[in-house]
Symmetry: C2
Subunit: 260 residues, 2 copies
């Protein structure tokens, strides 16, 4: 049976402050907990109901079987889903070599947890290993973010830095591309895109801030249709990120085709 203290402790991890003190976060639900078990993330403990397939549990994991009522007490979901894991925060460092030779995403004050989670899921789909967030961005270990990643949080490394300092001090090569999306950018579909570089995406209402915009050396525009028509002013940032990632990955195939 779960003690009152255990319930209290797990619920305290809903708050960023307590997550950071304990270096722990919560992952919920059948599918996502399975993804975490398969991943390199370290699990502190798993709580699961008897409906869960126990065969997924490795020998060395600390586990506790709970009833549905107990699971409800430690869950933040309306309908808790069989398993909840307490996971140790990984201690990622930015790998300069990886950033210089791959495609990465930079998020400038992204606020909405759902958007951040969706962007992590999208990054994973398109083989993007690193997301660099400004310190004011939503917290990757917020339960809403974790749920929206659908498990991709186990594979994508999310870093928090002072972006302005980071970009100032990075000494990227002159031809290293820093992309951003702007309403006055070049039609992305008619631009040769590199397979390495940074893609900066901005805040939900302000877009990319002025002090970050100055680092962008290739401004891109997602063409609307029909062009110049009266449509929405912009796209949601997580859908815009998805379209940009698709175009970068598709673009590579496309340029290969043209060479043939």
């Amino acid at each position: 049976m779960l003690s009152k203290n255990t319930i209290k402790f797990i619920n305290s991890l809903q708050k960023k402050k307590n997550r950071n003190i304990n270096k722990l976060f919560i992952v919920e639900g059948d599918k996502i907990v399975k993804e975490i078990i398969k991943s390199e993330l370290e699990i502190d403990k798993i709580f699961f109901t008897k409906h869960w397939e126990e065969n997924i549990i490795k020998n060395n994991l600390s586990t506790e079987i709970v009833n549905e009522n107990e699971l409800k007490k430690i869950s933040s979901l309306k309908t808790p889903n069989n398993a909840l894991a307490i996971v140790k925060m990984p201690n990622y460092k930015i790998d300069k070599n990886e950033i210089e030779n791959e495609l990465s995403i930079v998020l400038d004050d992204l606020q909405d947890p759902g958007n951040l989670g969706t962007i992590i899921r999208t990054a994973d789909w398109f083989g993007i290993k690193n997301i660099i967030c400004s310190q004011n961005s939503a917290d990757v270990y917020n339960p809403k973010v974790v749920q929206a990643t659908m498990g991709a949080i186990a594979r994508v490394k999310v870093h928090y830095v002072d972006i302005e300092k980071y970009l100032s001090n990075s000494n990227f090569a002159d031809d290293f591309k820093i992309y951003g999306t702007f309403l006055n950018g070049k039609n992305m579909n008619e631009t040769k895109l590199s397979d390495k570089g940074l893609i900066i995406m901005g805040n939900e209402s302000q877009g990319i801030s002025k002090n970050i915009e100055r680092f962008v050396n290739e401004k891109l525009f997602i063409p609307n249709y029909p062009s110049n028509s009266k449509t929405s002013e912009s796209l949601n940032v997580s859908t815009a990120t998805a379209i940009v990632c698709y175009e970068f990955r598709r673009g590579k195939v496309w340029s290969l085709k043209f060479k043939v």
Copy 2:
């Protein structure tokens, strides 16, 4: 000053049942209310604070100035934003000719209000005028949906039908394309896409249901990267919809290029 009854009535519109009885829904926030005023939607009444630019108000609109405390009482937002409009539900009919000659989206039991709102915003960006939803899909007049559309709700027509019946009885031409995304579909980037047809997107966890899948005559796949790698199992449905819409619109430019 707002009467108790007015406050009660406006709050009652948070519920679908009451929205449907009164044929009214709520739109909140500076930007979106302005979009509604500019649109063809009929406004029942606008409540706004003295911080709002009154010059946007047309003469024939019923309005009431409220203080911030009053706005809070009728708002569902954490930080109400200057204006709230009560809007009449439009009475859209599906225009067979428009569906047969344009690109439209069909949503098969989409559940999440945020996803529906984002898809409406995306459709607007890509010049898609009609979205046909199954009757179990999220309600377009749910305040969360309305907010997520960022005003696109004023331009995109959302219909609710029994999709299976609709598709069975539509008598589309033999070459009319009905697309859907599937993990075993054809790489979308290597498929010739029509500029007319239906794009079916499925439920968040179940995808497209079996009884709707049988109508799909072109199964598409959004390529992941690197292909065949171990990535997320799928994309969020609103980001997948955005990528598909982008590829359909981009595809048109692309095929024109090839003809030259």
